[in-house]
């Protein structure tokens, strides 16, 4: 079983978390074109890389941001996702 060390919670089993997808900047819904929206929702470079991801801790209801490599599965950084939409990098 994989474990991850989180602020406040300490060392937790990864099976307590739900994956919420990668963090990506959402285009402004007022001005976005259809093409930009489709690009945001669907199209991306899916090759292996290090990315920031949403992870939800079910027992406490806390959202975290993990920095994880999708080739090695190593988690290199863990932060609270406490800034809401402004987390959108």
């Amino acid at each position: 079983m994989k474990f991850v060390t989180c602020p406040s919670l300490g060392r937790r089993a990864l099976s307590e978390f739900n994956y919420g997808g990668r963090l990506e900047r959402e285009p402004d819904q007022e001005t976005v074109s259809e093409k930009e929206w489709a690009d945001y929702v669907f199209y991306h470079n899916g090759a292996p890389k290090t990315q920031i991801e949403w992870w939800y801790h079910r027992p406490t209801g806390i959202w975290f941001l993990f920095e994880r490599n999708t080739l090695t599965d190593r988690i290199t950084k863990v932060d609270f996702a406490n800034k809401g939409i402004s987390n959108e990098a």
């Binding site: 079983m1 994956y19 489709a38 669907f42 199209y43 899916g46 292996p48 991801e53 599965d73």
Partner: protein
Amino acid sequence: MPLRLVKYAWKKSEDEPRFFPDEKPLKKAYDVVIIGGGGHGMACAYYLAKEHGITNVAVLEQGYIGGGNTGRNTTIVRSNYLTSEGVKFYDESLKLFEDLSDDFDLNIFYSTRGHFTLAHTDSAMRTMRWRAEVNKHHGIDSEVVDVDTIKKEVPYMDMSCNGQHPVMGALYHAPGSVARHDAVAWGYARGAQMRGVEIHQKTRVTDIKTKGGKVVGVETDRGFIEAKKVVSMVAGSTPRITEMLDIETPIEIFPLQACVTEPVKPFMDTIVVSGSLHVYVSQSSRGELVMGASVDPAELHSTRSTLDFVEGLTDQMMDLFPFTSRLKIMRQWAGMSDITPDFAPIMGKTDVEGFYLDAGWGTWGFKATPVSGKTMAYTVANDMPHELIKPFSLDRYSKFELVGEKGAASVGH
């Protein structure tokens, strides 16, 4: 039955030639380069040579023939999908599968079993009725059956699922089958090779070269090859290939795991699937129970196995088949599933001239092996998409024309 079997029964000596002749050096140029030597790649090469007379073709495989997802799936073939596009496409595949042993003169152990998709909830029953109606409309043998029928056909199953998720009915698909997956790739590969196609194993494509928006060749770890047409049929490695051409796709890679138990006497002649419990099981011709579940929870480019998977799967399996608690798990493995948002493949031409994509095969690739090879061969030979794959183009997402194939394996309803 292949006649060769009878012939060998009468012969005293075994003078069977090598299945694949020794590899030749790479040529400087080919008409078509196919990246990926799995079932799809081999099938495409086979139909290019057989139906379109294009034999100056190289299949480049970074590992060995059929060593990727072709050898990692749970070998189920069926066509009881949910959308018209899916049903027509997979039904063509099933029909091709039925004749493959004769086409190849090689036994692919194609075994028609009957396929039950169990429903444990009202909403699942509704989806089953929906699927049955779509299937029947397209002339496919598919019907909703009640609990008594399931009891009669699958008597060793606990219909109450340990009292937790009682089975309410099922979608029954009589043509549902299993086949020996390696033999499918080998049969296509040998057929292609006999017609002049070259297969190069342990040859990795490192880059795809273009000039003025047109493909001119591929760079490999064995040198540069000229080719005006390049087909990517690499399933789980698709994003690494499309990255070479800066093509963006909706594909995300998730590991899909499976396992087999120790072999036991044949007792199970049907295929049983439960979308709600995320499990599917059939008994192989060797007697092993072949079991699979849904994809792993997070994106990952890896074929590692986990204990979490076996724990989760066997927990559900023991609810359905309590006696399996006495069986040992013998092997487990994983493949990289290239999942699309609408659970349908991405096939056809791309914005780069001469680059063709056959990808997005997620958890539904093996059953499409013959038809994807056939339709992609048509697409490459004529430089226009085959009628059956038109709904699966890469640009459908930008037009918001998704296929919505919820009949894919282990998609919850």
